[in-house]
């Protein structure tokens, strides 16, 4: 029964998202970015292949974030603001089933969008690499590109889980959005900050705060780990083991956030 409910909620959320105009806007953006990739790459005189791969993956990351912060959070906020949640929770659906169902539905939308955007970026990259074979990075591999794309998707899944957590306790959707964006920015730079503080004895105001920074690095998501644009662009293969560990980290971190979101949401009064 719980799995059944989660599946139906996920399917409904995914259908709602797919039929939303925002997704079509993103498809258009993907086409524009594909064309931009062709234009931008030719502005460079060397390393055209590397520029093309990095631009392609960056465009996937950018549009994916737009999807999480605007479409994803809008779908979540509308449930509360427009009282749609009453239609669902007046049925035998628990809070954790509701939140997990919504989360998985949005994860499915992100997967679909990443596939569309990734394919679109791959087409433009393929054209550039075919047009300028001299600039194809040595050891360039489409498998590494697909793995980098999967890491990008996992990073978006973690950011989405952060958004669901913020949504579960914030009083206003705007506050939830602000918190989620801030967490994303911290998560992108946490690893760098940790290394600066732990490896540098002259880290300014943070000197001597190694334990605090270390504790924070365990709390905030380490999103820089998922950034494999560099590896894909330079044809640097990363191991299957590292990939599996990243998957494990992304999935377990997201599951933990959804668990905390459930605990917090249970305390919320749906007035």
């Amino acid at each position: 029964m719980p799995v059944r409910n989660i599946w139906f909620l996920a399917l409904a959320t995914c259908t709602e998202g797919i039929r939303h105009r925002a997704l079509w806007a993103i498809v258009c953006l993907a086409v524009l970015l594909t064309m931009a990739n062709l234009g931008v790459t030719t502005l460079y005189t060397w390393d055209l292949g590397k520029v093309s791969v990095e631009f392609g993956l960056s465009s996937v990351a950018f549009t994916g974030l737009l999807l999480v912060f605007f479409l994803g959070m809008k779908i979540l906020a509308d449930d509360l603001e427009r009282s749609r949640i009453f239609m669902l929770l007046s049925r035998p659906v628990s809070i954790w089933q509701y939140l997990t169902g919504k989360f998985l539905g949005l994860v499915m939308i992100l997967l679909l969008a990443t596939i569309i955007l990734g394919l679109s970026a791959a087409l433009s990259m393929h054209y550039v690499l075919w047009q300028y074979p001299a600039y194809v990075p040595p050891n360039f591999s489409w498998v590494t590109y697909i793995m980098a794309l999967a890491c990008q998707w996992l990073s978006l899944v973690v950011v989405l889980a952060v958004s669901v957590l913020c949504f579960s306790f914030a009083s206003q959707p705007f506050v939830a959005l602000l918190l989620a964006v801030s967490t994303y920015l911290v998560g992108q730079n946490m690893e760098l900050l940790r290394r600066v503080v732990t490896e540098n004895a002259h880290a300014g105001a943070l000197t001597g705060q190694e334990n605090l920074v270390l504790a924070l690095s365990w709390i905030f998501p380490n999103l820089s780990l998922f950034d494999k644009k560099y590896a894909a662009a330079y044809g640097m293969a990363f191991s299957g083991q590292e990939f599996m560990l990243l998957c494990l980290y992304g999935i377990s971190y997201s599951a933990l956030l959804i668990y905390f979101a459930t605990l917090l949401f249970r305390r919320k009064e749906l007035a």
Binding site: M1, L9, A12, R19, M87, S90, E269, L270, A271
Partner: protein
């Protein structure tokens, strides 16, 4: 002896805390037997919707207990046995009426085959057959209200809880919903509904409850409530004015 359909005992609820606390319900007790149609009356802000949200466990009471068909709200599962229509039913705009009903039915534990049979019947009953495959976002208020009613009935529940089911409807829409409630009464369903429209209450209810500023002023038969020679509206206004006067 059958268990009461709804049993509310000593229910209190306030929002906020300290000096800013707004007490919305005070020591409310009500019992509604199975098969009866109970009208819950009160002016705006009296605590009708709050009572309904507490019944559905959307809100948690400060004190008191609520039982539905013998199951304690918040502790035991009862929701597969009730149907709920909110005052402003909102649905997923991009799902069709059929998909909306399918989602609700599935979440209520119904199987695909049962839904395939039930959905066309309900859509026809609510005169929504032609709109079955249209997205709900384009529906009028009346159509949404009728879809909300179908949504509440999809799993054929024993107890129906309607929050202002006739609010914002034109006379035709109101007539339709009224007719439907009368049919459900004939089928022996327990119906608990709040309304401002006293003529509807008069036409449909076996018993009524009158609430003002979170305090239950009356609960009992409709005839017993009517002041000699007065209609429901006059009797209602008189009771509310007396209560307000007593408070002042």
């Amino acid at each position: 002896m059958t268990v009461p359909a709804l049993e509310i005992t000593g229910l209190s609820k306030g929002f906020g805390s300290g000096r800013k606390k707004n007490q919305v319900l005070t020591n409310l007790s009500l019992t509604i037997t199975q098969g009866e149609v109970f009208g819950f009356l009160g002016p705006n802000g009296a605590g009708k919707s709050t009572t309904i949200k507490l019944l559905l466990h959307f809100l948690k009471p400060d004190s008191g207990s609520l039982r539905i068909l013998g199951k304690t709200v918040g502790q035991e599962e009862f929701r597969h046995r009730i149907g709920y229509l909110s005052e402003f039913p909102f649905f997923y705009d991009h799902l069709t009426a059929r998909e909306t009903l399918r989602l609700s039915g599935r979440l209520s534990g119904m199987e695909r085959q049962a839904l395939d049979q039930r959905i066309p019947i309900l859509l026809e009953r609510m005169t929504l057959t032609e709109a079955a495959d249209r997205r709900v976002g384009g529906f009028s208020k009346g159509m949404k209200q009728r879809l909300g009613m179908a949504n509440a009935l999809i799993h054929d529940p024993e107890v129906l809880i309607f929050d202002e089911p006739m609010s914002g409807l034109d006379p035709v829409g109101r007539h339709q919903i009224k007719g439907l409630i009368a049919e459900l009464k004939q089928e022996g369903k327990t119906i608990f509904f709040s309304s401002h429209i006293l003529s509807d209450i008069e036409a449909l209810c076996d018993r009524i409850g009158v609430i003002n500023k979170g305090v239950l002023l009356y609960s009992g038969g409709l005839r017993d409530f009517l002041v000699a020679g007065c209609g429901l509206e006059e009797s209602f206004v008189r009771v509310i004015e007396e209560a307000n006067h007593a408070c002042a």
